[in-house]
Amino acid sequence: MKQLTDPLIDKNPVAVHILGICSALAVTTSMATALTMSVALTVVVTLAAGLISALRSHIPNQIRIIVQLTIIATLVILADLLLQGFAHDMSQRLTVFVSLIATNCIVLGRTEAYAMHNPPLPSMIDALGNGLGYSLVLMSVAFIRELFGAGSLFGIQILITQAQGGWFVPLRLMLLAPSAFIILGLLVWALRSWRGRLAEKPDFAPRDTGSEASS
């Protein structure tokens, strides 16, 4: 059970390991795109972990990365094609980011670090947990960005904007990429303050500014 729950908070791939940031920034302007991306990534990482784990004793060590990537890329193309076929509008909004799941460090990280050494079922549970951890962060960031950037959640207007005769002035910044960095940064900070042991020791001790000034 720990394999499933650990990646949600304590070993969260985005907020603790800082993986998969690129897509987390790009697709979080609305809850709907973030949810689609989360589901796509979770399905891909879970299936990839299962398949690679099942094949693990026959994957030669020298070519293991490329074999893993081939399997992951196949699953990503499938996900992309299915989206284009059954949710065309959504695939247009996600543009290249579904295809970029293939290069997402979370997927390769889980298959390389876990699925290559463990039986299929635990691997899939571990991957599912990581997928859900990624989803949790994406949904939190998207919640803040869509609510304050457009006043809506899943496209349903919550805060009536001034343009529609209400009082709410949308924060344009929230819809731009930098806001995702800021929110994610605050999230990481909040998480590390809450779970103190997640904070790393500083690599270098800050120098005493007083002695520097005198030297």
């Binding site: 026959h58 994957i59 030669p60 081939t70 196949t74 193309i77 065309h88 543009t95 290249v96």
Partner: protein, 259 residues
Amino acid sequence: MAKAFQRFLARPNSDPVKSIGMAALVAAICALIVAGTAVTLRPLIEENRLAARAGQMAAMLESVPGISDLLDGGGIETLIVDLATGRISQTDPTDFDQTAAAADPDRSTALPPAADLAAISRRENESLIWLVREGDEIRLLVLPVRGAGYQSTIRAYLALEGDLNTVAAFTVYEQGETPGLGSRVTEAEFRNGWTGRRIFEGDVIQIDTVSGASGDFEVEMISGASVTSYGTIDMVHFWLGPDGFGPFMDNLRKGEAGL
């Protein structure tokens, strides 16, 4: 066969035969799965693409003031123009596939590099156009245009008002430009830069793209995507020029297009 496979699997992982064999096996199976899915889903994806394009056309027509009322009455006419003669052709537009015509050597013309402003190398002999008329008077003319952008072919609808000069709308319906940079050709900000601009000054095509656009003939450029912006202007220059809809536009003005 099964035995041979068992023996293959039993080889140590460090064995070169196993390495190459596994790589080939994984690659072949993955290729089969991808190809199979792509072929199965192709009709569905194509249908979605056409529906999305029709939706964009409808949205574009809606956005032009005064046009939506006319659509309820007579609606929009779909016609085919013979580009060389500049007259309406007798070809049936219902199942005319313009993309196929552009690729078919019998139904398209190779363009000399000097004339090929839009970098499309072949131009179909006949093209679809759409007209909205009120009585005999043309209210809106929609022309399909395409041309090279930065890294993809940009396809768009150019809607002209009844004077055949003022741009009513310019909507890109297909492109594969850099996401976040060139892909902004589809966004409202760029589209709005076209609305109300004029194309011809006398007989000369004057429309251009600049940053800080002012005046009738200037479209606001996308910052960070100048090649894409120039691409859209070049394709308008090509398609309204003598090798595109130029002869047809001349005939329309003279009332000799065969409408």
